[in-house]
């Protein structure tokens, strides 16, 4: 699974992109976030306030209940501020 982090999430986690082997017992984005928070302090800080975070699965907006599986591209980022 390819993971992407943007804006201040990228800065707190320290990388913009990484590839992981998704644990077999993780079935949705919420489970993925819980697992990521256990990977280090940067992740823990980045994912502290889930209300402040948006996510996309395969480049479409999704929510924490969205199913995720090996091979997906999952991105986490704050609300967008373009234009």
């Amino acid at each position: 699974m390819k993971l992407l982090y943007f804006a201040w999430l990228r800065q707190k986690i320290g990388v913009g992109e990484e590839t992981i082997d998704l644990p077999a017992d993780i079935a949705d984005a919420r489970g993925l976030v819980t697992w990521l928070k256990g990977r280090g302090e940067g992740y823990e800080i980045a994912f502290r306030d889930l209300d402040a975070i948006k996510l996309a699965v395969n480049q479409d907006y999704a929510d924490l209940d969205a199913p995720v599986k090996a091979g997906d591209e999952v991105a986490f980022f704050p609300p967008v501020t373009g234009g």
Partner: protein, 161 residues
């Protein structure tokens, strides 16, 4: 019907001329150009901005912009449309984004252009980080007024925004 995400500046006159070239059904072209201001009001008290950097999500950005553009064509009788959005480091006065719509009717051109920039603001994955004159960097926060502007277009026809 055209989407571009690029670091380089764009030539508004050339883009608008190309948009309508040779199509004599077009009665009006509406455009919006967003510029970098030297003041930020997003975080309450205004403070000077000396530059900003626009980060984006390559791939998803184009996908979302294309979806927004397709929605505009579903809703209004457009002969042509264009969205050009820059990324990278920009200074006050620099162009950020161009949205343009061409239609036989001016109401459709205005509404579709307004719709495109409103939806782009809340759906296209760009993030701004501003530098103050003192060198501090600050991620711009999303504004409720942008959410409200985008939601207005959802209410118009009952579709989810």
């Amino acid at each position: 019907m055209a989407i571009r995400v690029q670091r380089e500046d764009f030539d508004v006159g050339a883009e608008l001329a190309a948009l309508g070239a040779g199509n004599h059904r077009i009665g009006g072209i509406c455009s919006f150009v967003g510029l970098v201001r030297d003041m930020n009001e997003g975080a309450g008290a205004s403070e000077g901005v000396s530059a900003m950097t626009l980060e984006h999500y390559p791939g998803m950005t184009e996908k979302q912009l294309a979806a927004i553009d397709a929605e505009a064509h579903r809703r209004w009788p457009l002969e042509a449309s264009l969205v050009v959005h820059r990324h990278g480091r920009l200074e006050p006065g620099d162009r950020i984004v161009l949205v343009a719509t061409a239609s036989p009717h001016r109401e459709a051109a205005f509404e579709a252009c307004h719709f495109l920039i409103d939806w782009l603001k809340t759906k296209a994955p760009f993030w701004k980080v501003e530098e103050s004159a003192e060198g501090a960097a600050r991620w711009v926060e999303a504004r409720e007024s942008d959410d409200a502007a985008a939601a207005r277009w959802a209410a118009v026809d009952g579709k989810e925004g």
